[in-house]
Structure formats: structure tokens, C-alpha cells
């Protein structure tokens, strides 16, 4: 039964990630990434990483992708802008690079699939276990991420100030 769910969500993840790069409308790109994130989160639950799976849905599908949608709608891209963006000179190069990556990943993981050496361990990423490690062994990196988010806020505010000041210059 877990194998069935694995293949279901794996196919969903691959199809959604293909839709992310192939769909023409940016709105559909973002919505396909929402589907991909939900499939990925389901795979995390299959791997018994419950806390990370929930955080993935909350942060990605809840915050990051809504932010993406907000920007896509805020830019209000018209058809002329979108069609001018579609043609790429690097399509062949991209295909070759993708095939190289995929084949190298396949060659690297072939032995893993054949061997089945490691069975799954009893690791269960519940809130209790993850929280205990996060606030003991990983306390310093956890506090440093708050500093990182603060710096990101400073960066965005300074970028937005540039927009406001240029707007004022135009107004004057």
C-alpha cells in the first residue's frame, strides 16, 4: 500500500513540475508549483517526516506561492509582454543539460535501487522530536535564521524605498 501511494505522488510530482516549466501562463506555473508542493509534502508524510511536511505546506503553499500569485497579478502582464518572453535561444542547450543531469542521477542511483541495502529506520519526525533537537543541538542556527529574516526585511524595505523615491521624482 505505501508503494502505491509512493508511485501516485511521484507521478503527480513529476507531472506538476513539468507543468511548472511548460505552461505558458505564469498563473498556471505558480498553481502547478502548488500541486507539486502538496505532492512533495505527501511524500514527506510517507517518509514519516510529519513536522517538515506540514511546515512545507504552511510556508510554501500558504505564504510563498500566495506571494508569487500576488506579484503575478500585481504586475498585470499583458499578452504582448508574455508572448515576447516565450522564445528562448537556449532550448536545445537546456534539453541537453537536463538529459545529462537525469542520466547521471539515474546512473548514480541505479546501484541503490538494486542493492536495497538500507531498510527504513524508526525515525519519526514528529513535532516533539524535531522541537527537542531544534532547541538543544541546533539552537544557534535557529536563532541565526531570525537574523537572516531581519536582513531580508531590511533589503526589501530599501528596495521599496527606491521605488518610492523614483515615484516622487516623476511626480515632481
Amino acid at each position: 500500500m505505501p508503494a502505491l501511494f509512493f508511485y501516485l505522488f511521484a507521478v503527480l510530482l513529476v507531472l506538476a513540475s513539468l507543468a511548472v516549466i511548460l505552461a505558458r501562463n505564469p498563473l498556471y506555473n505558480v498553481l502547478a508549483l502548488v500541486v507539486a508542493i502538496f505532492a512533495l509534502s505527501s511524500l514527506f508524510v510517507l517518509l514519516e517526516a510529519f513536522f517538515v511536511g506540514i511546515i512545507l505546506i504552511l510556508v510554501y503553499a500558504g505564504a510563498v506561492l500566495v506571494f508569487f500569485l500576488f506579484v503575478v497579478m500585481c504586475l498585470n502582464l499583458n499578452a504582448a509582454v508574455l508572448t515576447s518572453v516565450q522564445q528562448s535561444r537556449f532550448r536545445l542547450l537546456g534539453g541537453v543539460v537536463g538529459l545529462m543531469f537525469a542520466s547521471s542521477f539515474f546512473l548514480a542511483t541505479k546501484s541503490f535501487i538494486a542493492a536495497q541495502a538500507m531498510g527504513p529506520s524508526s525515525v519519526r519526525g514528529t513535532i516533539e522530536t524535531i522541537g527537542r533537537i531544534l532547541f538543544t543541538d541546533y539552537l544557534l542556527p535557529f536563532e541565526l535564521t531570525s537574523l537572516l529574516l531581519l536582513i531580508a526585511v531590511f533589503g526589501i524595505v530599501s528596495l521599496a524605498q527606491g521605488v518610492l523615491s523614483t515615484g516622487k521624482e516623476k511626480g515632481n
Partner: protein, 100 residues
Amino acid sequence: MIGLGHYLLLSGIVFSVGIVGVVTSRNVLKVLLSLELLLAASNLVFVAFSKFNGDYAGQLIVFFVILVAAAEVAIGLAIIVLMYRRLATIQADELKEMKW
């Protein structure tokens, strides 16, 4: 029986799709979305190794990756909005001021 190799192969496929998206698309929004795919693929590897090696560190790294990705997306989208206001385009090739 689903083993570690299945998860690694799936993550490799998603990573390759993301690489193709980063290389081929000229729409900067799409480049940013493809970067998210790359991060998602690497997150899957971390969680799979965490499960099969019996170590919680992989899941904690995924937690930190999600935090850093949120900050990265916020800054990236701010830059895209600025770019659209200044140049009225979201095409990566139009950014010529840093070229020489």
C-alpha cells in the same frame, strides 16, 4: 518495497526538470519558480536520507532550507517588481546595465 534509491531517482528527475527550466526560460518569474523546484528536489533527498540513515539532522536542514527559501523568494520578487517598474519587461535578457 520502496527503497532509498526510488526517492533519490525521483528527486533527480525533479531536479533535472528544474535545471531545464532555469536554463531555458527567459521569464524571470519562471526562473524563480524553477529554482523552487531545485530546492524541493534537494529537500526530498535530505528527508529520504534522514529516514533511511536514522538521523534527524536531515529534517532540520530541510526546515532551515525552507526558511532561507522564503527570504530568497521575498527579495527575488521585490527585485522583479522593481525591474518591471523600471524596464516594463520581465525578460532576463533585457537586464543589460550590468553587462560590459
